[in-house]
Symmetry: C2
Subunit: 215 residues, 2 copies
DNA sequence: GTTACCAATATTGGCGCCAATTTATGATAC
DNA sequence: GTATCATAAATTGGCGCCAATATTGGTAAC
């Protein structure tokens, strides 16, 4: 309420450049291997040189882009081994708190999750890639929150970005997306039934799904 | 070969400023809450303003320092909840690969670990805080490597830094340090005996130890 | 015709200055 | 004597310039 400050003439370029580049990498607009020339980014996001450089430095810290001294930055190409390893880590982390999720689930939180699962389905049909991606994130975030470990929620968000450099290729088939949507609902079902073991199985399957079929 | 370039007159200030600040935070030279004025750091590490700023930005991304706009940066104070949560995450991650550690352990790797455990004990007596800290890191790194997930090794190193902002207070008593040293050897014993369950128990205990006795 | 070398161009990256904001200090009024 | 306000000092943070380095294209020689 009373947001006076966001009425700058330019429009909507108040956001952090790092986030913008991150989104473009995540949505596949900047494919893996692309060289990120500072001048190009400067123009593309209508920002200054230092802003570009800060963004590139941050993203290279997060290992989303690689830095070659005196050559520049390019979008990181995660090899299969890394992708598998990160998947394993996610399975470890997310299944580890399944018991807590079941223990902490209330009718309220289950309803919220059901809503988010439906929202994901909606975005499958009507949303942009980014909206869809974020709907997925929102669902998993809410689910993880039930684990009661805020730090773990943030950590998973972080490492999730670490391999999602090729989300387009991961979600390329509609069949798989719809399967993901159904699995979301099955997870909520398991939560409702207080079946922690089933929930673990579902989570593990859900995460490993994309990487199980490399070609 | 032919490394001519590293013969700069200055001496040994070739290192990255970020690392230097990080070390000083980890070793307790810069206690939690300390305001990190850019001018001070500039003089302290004999570097330029942009270098300082880059270091501060990186460390604030890693949440080791907090950034208050137009006020500056100060060393982050991890509250008890965060510390507990990070501890839990470490237990989850490090015990999750215990089976793999046992499976992958060779006489060679066990010997290496035994050596690192001994080295930690040595540093307890004769090393600096930093050397001691790094000896501990080296042991756990080598142990984790047996898990076969390189990504997990790096991740643990990362989140380990996330709460070690007060390593001094964690390791303040010599009794506790010596207990840690003994536990290292017990872990190697469990590994040698191929007792994964015992190894898990030891790891969990070892990690939770510092935070279990807050006062 | 091909290869090697040199020059021109483009890109990276270091560095310092200046404006904006905040904090500390001192003076004045109550 | 204390509180409040104004002014001054200090600190942050944005921005652009310039040197160092890599790359590309052209030319000449073999």
């Amino acid at each position: 309420m009373s947001e006076v400050q966001s009425e700058t003439a330019a429009g909507s370029e108040e956001r952090d450049v790092t986030e913008l580049v991150l989104q473009d990498i995540l949505t596949g607009l900047l494919p893996a291997g692309t060289w990120l020339k500072q001048i190009d980014l400067e123009r593309r996001y209508d920002c200054t040189r230092p802003e570009v450089r800060r963004a590139l430095d941050r993203l290279s810290q997060k290992r989303l882009v690689a830095h070659v001294p005196n050559r520049g930055y390019h979008v990181h190409q995660p090899d299969d081994r890394h992708a598998k390893e990160v998947g394993d880590i996610r399975v470890i982390l997310e299944t580890a708190v399944a018991d807590m999720m079941v223990a902490n689930a209330t009718p309220d939180s289950i309803a919220t999750l059901r809503g988010l699962a439906r929202y994901f389905d909606e975005m499958t049909l009507t949303g942009t890639i980014l909206e869809h991606y974020e709907a997925n994130l929102a669902f998993h975030r809410e689910l993880l929150l039930l684990g009661g470990n805020q730090e773990l929620v943030d950590l998973v968000s972080e490492i999730r970005q670490r391999t999602s450099s090729a989300p387009v290729s991961q979600w390329r088939t509609r069949a798989r997306i719809e399967k993901s949507g159904r699995e979301h609902h099955m997870m909520v079902d398991a939560l409702e039934a207080r079946d922690a073991e089933q929930l673990k199985r579902l989570i593990a399957l859900h995460i490993r799904q994309p990487t199980d079929t490399p070609k």
